[in-house]
């Protein structure tokens, strides 16, 4: 039969706008960046250098030291988010979903609000709060007799990155909270009721029933955190500037890329090395997402009600 299946034009037509826009603003720039990283500065313009930029990035001790420093800081930034932001998010969601909590809507909104604030505001406000000169942090610690604990955290190489990671946690804790909250609400009441009948207390209910049911959401949150953290730039740039001081202690891949690509003060921008760093970042994120998709997500059990 010649006309076994009609050509289903409408699929293409409906997909086209999204595909076109996505291609124009995401796919083409991505390949443009990968392409740019294979060129170097020549006498009369860019010349093809193959993987030489990557050889410099990983082979030259000056570049590789900066790169591994940034990657290490980035990992620590991610670890703090995984260890602090996500457990707190789950805890808040569990508290919010409790039927006995009053003013749940108010708490939910209040905790979510920092997420919609601009990075510039968050960075500036926290810099002021933590400022040893004008900040309220030293005063508040003084009021409870703990002034000795105060240090100019953002200026000390050993604390600055952790302090900024915690600021970022403060800002974004609303997102895991909301996602987990939605997942918790979708657990049918009869499952919980059955558990109560069987004599499970609230604590055991959480560990044995709710947690397994929200694990897929936790997986999604982890991967969102991973991608978000490895693309992070704004907060560090706003709080510490492009040099990511003190002594590069807060330098993450995003700020390293910015400095290299656009240049800084007397340092001229180098789009080709910048693109090489961007490609390395893309590779790292791609690798992380693949590990998640193939090694973790396929093993997560899903339950249908």
């Amino acid at each position: 039969m010649a006309s076994g299946k009609a050509v289903r034009w409408h699929i293409g037509v409906f997909l086209a706008p999204a595909v076109l826009v996505y291609t124009a603003i995401m796919i083409i720039p991505l390949f443009g960046t990968l392409n740019l990283s294979l060129f170097g500065k020549g006498e009369g313009g860019p010349v093809f250098v193959g993987l030489a930029n990557f050889a410099t990035l990983f082979g030259d001790p000056r570049w590789s030291e900066a790169f591994w420093n940034a990657l290490g800081n980035n990992l620590w930034f991610f670890v703090i988010h995984m260890l602090v932001q996500n457990p707190i998010g789950i805890l808040l969601a569990a508290l919010l979903s409790s039927p006995h909590l009053r003013m749940a809507a108010f708490y939910r909104t209040a905790i979510f609000i920092p997420t919609i604030l601009s990075f510039v505001i968050v960075g500036f406000v926290w810099k002021l709060i933590l400022s040893p000169i004008w900040g309220i942090a030293p005063g508040m610690l003084d009021a409870v007799g703990l002034k000795a604990l105060f240090a100019p955290w953002l200026g000390k190489a050993e604390y600055a990155l952790t302090a900024l990671a915690l600021v970022s946690v403060w800002q974004f804790v609303g997102i895991p909270m909301m996602l987990i909250y939605a997942a918790l609400l979708s657990i049918p009441d009869d499952v919980i009721e059955a558990a109560e009948m069987d004599g499970l207390g609230a604590w055991a209910q959480f560990w044995k029933i709710k947690l397994p049911l929200i694990l897929p959401s936790i997986g999604i949150i982890s991967i969102l955190t991973f991608v978000g953290n490895f693309n992070a730039f704004d907060l560090i740039y706003v709080a510490q500037g492009a040099l990511a001081g003190p002594d590069f202690a807060t330098d993450i891949l995003g700020t390293f890329l910015y400095r290299t690509f656009f240049g800084f003060q007397l340092q001229l921008g180098d789009p080709h090395m910048g693109a090489a760093i961007a490609s390395a970042m893309f590779g790292i994120i791609l690798l992380g997402v693949c590990i998640y998709l193939f090694a973790i997500q396929t093993r997560l059990r899903r339950y249908q009600f």
Partner: protein
């Protein structure tokens, strides 16, 4: 109907085109967003009054973003007609890329000395691509009321300098010195390159470093770091997290007695501070030594080579090179000292104090700016980092010198 509509559209386009042709609008790219009102209220009206038909718009970017933003705009072809030039390599690179036009032919260039032009010339001096506007001088601004109350005279030697700091510290009313290391650049610009020329003897040391005859590990280059390391005890609590605006505010609020400064602070400090201020030059090692100051050629203006209005842009630049502009600019912005050969009379006492050092001391420019910050690692940025580390005490002066020299050696081969 459709046709009428088309004609209407076409006519309106043509009409608006004609309206545009009457006035040419020139846009200035700059990092001096602090100067916006001065350009809008004083400089641009003065130019427009004398040159009908040319409108000028001053469109500054934040200082830290300027270089990056400008490069992107130039690459995209959306940069303004007039480009405010950073000194040395940043602008030289723009010229080599064909983004800045050669301005050697401007009549106004005759108004500037070779030293004034050196920051905006090719290495062989054949082409000048920006009209010099101003230089800034480094030194220390002090709270004169505090000095008087404590009975301190402005120090001239190192020993007097630290004696004064000790006295202020012992008294306890004031933080001896307002500086932080959070933003890093103050430590290098207002610290290392402020006091350093007295040790490396200004131009002599700077040129010897470029020729490779001196090293950053030599005593005259490490000694300023040793001085900086001593500053730590006189800075305020938590100086590690103190930013540049924090330091400015500490000083103008009268909480700190001495501020390591660049002369560009004068206008802002005059507006903010309610006490009397004075200034002293970087202290020398022993009484009677020749003093050296950093009189840094800092700002100039060039022409975007791809401007649509080259003639009008040149007219504006001729005006920037005139003594009329020099007079207006230096007096609107005390602390930016004109590079024009015609002497400018300034009325601000603090600015007069700074500029008077030009008569007593030898002038030089910042050691890292010419040629030495061309490669990776970038010597200027490394100097920021090293100066901040030395003040915090996380790196010894000798280590800092060795690290910077090793970084420089990795890409810089002196010409001879």
């Amino acid at each position: 109907m459709k046709k009428t509509f088309r004609i209407a559209l076409l006519t309106s386009t043509l009409l608006s085109g004609a309206a545009w042709a009457e006035d040419v609008t020139l846009t200035i790219e700059s990092w001096r967003n602090d100067d916006l009102t001065i350009w809008q209220d004083k400089l641009i009206p003065a130019f427009e009054a004398a040159h009908p038909g040319i409108k000028v718009v001053f469109a500054p970017t934040a200082p830290a973003e300027y270089n990056a933003a400008l490069n992107s705009k130039l690459a995209a072809g959306s940069a303004g007609d007039l480009i405010t030039c950073r000194p040395f390599d940043a602008s030289l690179e723009l010229y080599n890329q064909g983004n800045l036009a050669d301005l050697s032919g401007l009549a106004a260039m005759a108004n500037f000395s070779p030293v004034a032009k050196s920051a905006w010339q090719t290495d062989d001096g054949a082409a000048t691509f920006c009209v010099p506007m101003a230089s800034v001088i480094h030194g220390f601004i002090y709270n004169a009321d505090a000095f008087e109350a404590l009975g301190i005279a402005p120090p001239t030697t190192n020993d007097e300098f630290f004696a004064a700091l000790d006295k202020i510290k012992a008294d306890g009313t004031y933080i001896p010195m307002a500086m932080g290391t959070n933003d890093q650049w103050e430590a290098a610009t207002m610290g290392y390159n402020n006091i350093g020329p007295n040790y490396w003897k200004g131009e002599e040391g700077r040129l010897a470093l470029i020729k490779g005859e001196q090293k950053l590990t030599d005593p005259q280059w490490v000694a300023p770091y040793e001085q900086l390391a001593r500053w730590k005890d006189y800075l305020g609590d938590g100086f590690e997290a103190q930013t540049y605006p924090d330091s400015q505010n500490l000083f103008t609020l009268g909480r700190a007695a001495i501020y390591p400064a660049g002369s560009w602070e004068i206008a802002g400090f005059n507006a903010q501070a309610t006490f009397k201020m004075g200034a002293f030059a970087p202290p020398v090692q022993a009484a009677g030594d020749t003093c050296y100051i950093s009189d840094h050629t800092d700002i100039a203006m060039g022409m975007n080579a791809k401007t649509a209005h080259p003639e009008e842009t040149k007219t504006f630049l001729e005006w920037v090179g005139s003594s009329e502009f020099a007079d207006l600019y230096a007096n609107s912005l005390p602390g930016f000292f004109s590079l024009n050969s015609t002497p400018v009379t300034m009325t601000d006492p603090l600015a007069q104090e700074f500029v008077s050092w030009r008569g007593k001391c030898q002038s030089t420019i910042r050691s890292t700016y010419q040629i030495l910050s061309r490669g990776t690692p970038n010597l200027e940025n490394e100097t920021w980092n090293a100066s901040a580390n030395v003040i915090k005490g996380t790196e010894t002066p000798a280590d800092a010198g060795a690290r910077l020299q090793a970084g420089l050696d990795s890409w810089y081969k002196p010409a001879n």
